[in-house]
């Protein structure tokens, strides 16, 4: 339960990170909060030759509002995102999700960007960033590029990040005052891996639901949105919503996998339960 030997570099700038990544490729790993990576190294699931610590790089921190966008730097720790008034105001779905991420002590060190780049199928933030139409800012020595959250995640622990690139920040469109975020996950114990979870968002104004998003996590390799189920809610008056039809349509969008504790059938059942709860919040239980 001790990691293999490795070389450690505490980077002071992104250029230093890029140069090291360019010369070492996959042999080098970025150390953000380390709450998944060091655990994996201790168990020898991961054995990088070089660890590049990016904790000192100031430009990866900070939470800023500019125009219609909330930008969250990759190296904000979960505890800081959880306590951010800007996040609570402009991306309340993220604030709702935060207490579900691991345990308080892990949140003290784990980072926003680290969790997204790690892309654990049971993690909360990929689903939230997809539900919020987030955009990921990525940099490498070749320059900067943007990838939409919906395109960023490729599989379990697999993303569009290349070996020599760094996730720098995430842009989230500021949520409208009519937006009704919903977040809930079912786990055996507070802070444990979710058996199924839902990050959802809709605008509800004058009794009409618009732009609904249902994004599930811990049910498949990648956080999965349910566009055809959500389409049944779009433009509907809250008194006309057919909850059962929405739930029955989930199977058209997502085929849940089974994991060590939960069968595919149980996951689909939980997805329906969570969907009913989200809709009931949006309709104010008028159905």
């Amino acid at each position: 339960m001790k990691p293999r030997e490795f070389e450690y570099i505490r980077a002071s700038s992104l250029d230093e990170v890029f140069a090291t990544l360019d010369s070492h490729g996959d042999d080098a790993k970025i150390l953000a909060g380390g709450q998944s990576l060091i655990a994996a190294m201790n168990m020898r699931f991961a054995a990088p030759e070089i660890l590049i610590d990016i904790n000192d790089i100031a430009e990866l921190k900070g939470i800023n509002v500019e125009g219609g966008t909330l930008r969250i730097g990759a190296m904000n720790r979960h505890v800081d995102v959880m306590g951010s008034a800007d996040v609570a105001t402009h991306a309340p779905l993220i604030s709702l999700a935060m207490p579900n991420i691991a345990h308080a002590t892990i949140r003290n060190r784990g980072t926003f960007g680290g969790s997204l780049a790690n892309a654990d199928p049971a993690s909360e933030l990929p689903a939230c960033t997809i539900a919020l139409d987030g955009v990921f800012n990525i940099q490498g020595s070749a320059g900067a590029r943007q990838v939409a959250a919906i395109d960023f995640f490729e599989g379990a622990y697999a993303t569009k990040l290349k070996d020599n690139e760094v996730l720098v920040s995430v842009d989230l469109p500021i949520s409208s005052p009519e937006s009704k975020p919903f977040f809930e996950e079912v786990s055996r114990r507070q802070g444990d891996y979710a058996m199924a979870g839902l990050a959802a968002q809709a605008n509800v104004a004058g009794g009409i639901i618009s732009n609904p998003k249902l994004v599930f996590f811990a049910v498949s390799e990648v956080a999965a949105s349910a566009p055809s189920a959500a389409a049944l809610l779009d433009g509907k008056n809250i008194v006309d919503v057919d909850v059962d039809a929405v739930c029955d349509t989930l199977a058209n969008d997502i085929t849940p996998f089974e994991d060590l504790t939960t069968s595919a059938e149980a996951k689909m059942h939980l997805m329906k339960v969570l969907t009913k709860r989200a809709i009931s919040q949006w309709t104010g239980d008028k159905k």
Binding site: I38, H103, T105, G191
Partner: protein
Amino acid sequence: MSDSVTITAIVNGESITAAVEPRLSLADFLRTNVGLTGTHVGCEHGVCGACTVRVGGKTARGCLTLAIQCDGVEVETIEGATESGRIKDLQENFIARNALQCGFCTPGMLLTADELLKENTSPTREEIREHLSGNYCRCTGYEAIVDAIELTAKQRNGEG
């Protein structure tokens, strides 16, 4: 063998300089290099909470933090927290309520509870359980631990 690097960490207020291998965890550094064995090493992958210490003022897993990351950083262990007297009442209530048996989880429990009580002076029992959810105890069944923390909060608020 990876080259050792010399670091100076401020452990319980005292500067400790040592040559460490990059792969040395903070928990092992505290136990073997500094000789502070109150930090316990359990699962070594961040699940059990026995290695909880404070790094830069906030609780952290000693097994998921590298010693080399603590160059110039303030680290507080259960020994330091005890000497400060800050958690004396909490420790006494752990004893009074039988909130420990073997004691393996206790240093981590105390530092985690200490952090909770600093952030939330009147936590509900549910909030206490949530905050302790990352700390395993295999002896007590947790009820007595929650009792001790709840009692400490009440006493500090003049209600005990």
